[in-house]
């Protein structure tokens, strides 16, 4: 398969190498000759992504402006679909429902009344899990970066929670936190872990931290390993304490990798679904935005499409803030930019 396309790309590169005398002209010619090969190689992926992501998303945006078909709660007659304007968005953002006396705030317990609480829960889970995962992940990374016998065992062990499917993780921790389960028996407590808000949220957070801290630790470890050892030696010679070395060398130098890791984890946590869906099915203050969308799909998918669009926008805004204001440059580090060259 690859033999057919590869040769096309190689001559392009060779021409480019020859044009190295005048750098700017060479660069220009390089872009032109390699551009065609590149677009041949890149286009299929972009087309596939357009089909599997862009098309559904545009479809969702279109759907979000349509009325859900169904029976009118007041008259019992069939309500046809059709253009709905921003009705679906107003339904979620202002928690407005149709009632016999016109629009009013959705009765508690209905899906429509849960948008802001679900947003709150989602952000709560995100902030708490990412915080613990960063702190614990940093600690794990520092340990893993040290040279000692048995380091391979440690690195292999850390990969185990990462490899386990989240659905299995959810069932496993659900069992650990069962009323007669091992958590209560070890700690001599009788907490109904998934039965009330605080413990249910704690159980989900613990399961998530267990599952994803290793990933965070490995990303941070990769960042730590790019810091040259000589920098530490020089600082030691200059009499810097361990804390000073950590604060003035490790932290600033690992920051780009750390920010990217936090960005990845934050965006991932904002779409959290598997753990709460399986452990509590959203009961007791664990309904995240993703869970709310899925519950709404069963009731009416145009309203669900509006909610999924809102969810997508929230995640997009968070990503934008990270990249723009917090300096998490995922593209640059992924493309081997200036930060990646520090070896």
């Amino acid at each position: 398969m690859s033999t057919q396309l590869e040769p096309g790309a190689i001559p392009g590169r060779k021409t480019a190498r020859k044009g190295g005398a005048n750098k700017e002209v060479g660069q220009d010619r390089k872009e032109k000759t390699q551009g065609r090969a590149a677009s041949l190689l890149v286009a299929p992926t972009l087309i596939v992504l357009a089909i599997v992501i862009l098309y559904p998303v545009l479809n969702a945006v279109y759907m979000s402006f349509q009325q859900d078909e169904g029976l009118d709660p007041v008259t019992g007659s069939f309500v046809a679909g059709g253009f709905a304007g921003f009705a679906n968005y107003i339904h979620w953002l202002f928690q407005q429902c149709e009632t016999p006396t016109g629009p009013a705030s959705c009765p508690p317990g209905t899906l429509g009344a849960q948008f802001w609480s679900a947003t709150g829960v989602t952000f709560f889970f995100t902030v708490v899990t990412v915080f613990f995962e960063t702190v614990l992940g940093f600690w794990m990374a520092v340990i893993m970066a040290r040279a000692f016998r048995g380091r391979t065992v440690l690195r292999a062990a850390v990969l185990v929670p990462w490899a386990i499917p989240t659905a299995v993780t959810a069932k496993l921790w659900f069992f650990i936190f069962a009323f007669d389960g091992i958590a209560n028996s070890v700690f001599q407590t009788d907490i109904l872990w998934t039965g009330s808000q605080g413990p249910a949220q704690a159980a989900i957070i613990i399961a998530d931290v267990w599952k994803t801290t290793p990933f965070m630790a490995l990303l941070i470890l990769a960042g730590l390993q790019m810091i040259p050892a000589e920098v530490y030696e020089a600082a030691k010679v200059d009499g810097a304490s361990a804390w000073q070395r950590f604060r003035l060398i490790t932290l600033p130098l690992v920051k780009p990798a750390l920010m990217v890791a936090i960005l990845f984890r934050t965006l991932d946590a904002l779409r959290m679904y598997d753990l709460p869906a399986i452990m509590t099915n959203g009961a007791n203050g664990t309904t995240t935005l993703s869970i709310l969308v899925v519950q709404q799909i069963r009731v009416g998918f145009n309203a669900a499409a509006a909610l999924s669009t809102i969810t997508f926008l929230i995640i997009f805004i968070v990503a934008f803030i990270f990249v723009r204001f917090l300096g998490a440059n995922a593209v640059e580090s992924a493309s081997g930019g200036a930060k990646g060259k520090m070896k």
């Binding site: 590869e6 559904p56 690195r155 062990a157 490899a163 499917p165 069932k171 070890v186 598997d274 799909i297």
Partner: protein, 296 residues
């Protein structure tokens, strides 16, 4: 004169022993921390396996080692009378994750080559688009797909599960491969050409063996990502096409209103062990692949 030298000597000896003691203490601390991490990561998995082999009547036994050992839970997990069909779910997952991985690799290899090796305008935009795509929330595409696939009768078909999986596996494949390809010694290819290899020979003898480990590692990562997917499968599958993650989430036991923990743990063990073995064998490569996209 001699007294001063001896005091100096004893001083340095004392300093040395202090330093040595400090070093021993530091290495002891490292080992203790490492042990804590290993136990924290493995204990829940150990507990899953212990429970998987325990008789149903002793589900909540808190003995920390293997007691009341039985294989019944595995029978329950695979039992079709209870509607669990773990065997069918395993085949479904294998097929869906396998096809997803192959499709993602076929497209991903070319794109990653271009991104790693060629200079072209809009390269950063493409990288940004692909990274952005991998961060996409699953619910944002599952909602319209539920309606679209419903309209054309695709709910419960394999393609309905494979197509959305590609949306997150393909970006993952592209950026992992891109960073791998960037690290490869491509000069060797040119050297081979100078030494008289044809383009095809250079590709076959030099590039393929060099790229194979990168492609293989990426395949493992892609496969694990697809294998572990739950949200899309839980909405777009039916009983016949449900994947292992969905099957485990909906497990039934002998008692209708009782969570069949031991059978679930048995199923969890069956699903997890192959992954864990895979991960342990290719540990070094997987770590490189996981972090490649993000840091290098």
């Amino acid at each position: 004169m001699s007294t001063t030298t001896s005091t100096v000597a004893s001083h340095t000896a004392a300093a040395k022993s202090v330093a040595r003691r400090r070093e021993t203490w530091a290495s002891a601390r490292t080992y203790i921390s490492a042990a804590v991490i290993v136990i924290w990561c493995l204990l829940p998995v150990y507990w899953m396996i212990v429970t998987a082999f325990r008789e149903v009547g002793y589900t909540y036994d808190s003995a920390p080692f293997f007691t009341h050992v039985t294989l019944d839970n595995f029978k329950t997990a695979f039992s079709s009378e209870m509607g669990n069909h773990l065997d069918r779910a395993l085949l479904n997952s294998l097929f869906i994750a396998g096809v997803t991985t192959i499709v993602a690799l076929i497209f991903g290899v070319f794109t990653a080559y271009a991104l790693a090796r060629l200079t072209f305008r809009g390269k950063y935009l493409v990288l940004g688009v692909i990274l952005g795509a991998s961060m996409f929330p699953g619910v944002a595409i599952v909602t319209p797909l539920f309606q679209l696939f419903g309209n054309i009768g695709w709910i419960g078909t394999y393609q309905a599960l494979i197509i959305p999986n590609i949306s997150f596996v393909l970006p993952l494949t592209v950026y992992t491969l891109t960073s791998f390809f960037r690290e490869m010694p491509w000069e060797l290819e040119e050297a081979a050409r100078i030494d008289g290899c044809t383009q095809g020979q250079a590709f076959r003898r030099i590039i393929m063996p060099l790229a194979a480990p990168a492609v293989f590692t990426t395949a493992i990562l892609a496969f694990i990502a697809a294998w572990n997917e739950y949200l899309i499968a839980s909405i777009l599958s039916n009983d016949a096409t449900q994947t292992v993650t969905v099957a485990i989430a909906r497990f039934a036991g002998a008692e209708p209103h009782q969570e069949p923990y031991t059978a679930v743990m048995a199923a969890g063990t069956v699903v997890t062990i192959p992954l864990v073995i895979l991960v342990l064998i290719f540990q070094r490569k997987i770590v490189a692949g996981l972090t490649a996209g993000a840091v290098k």
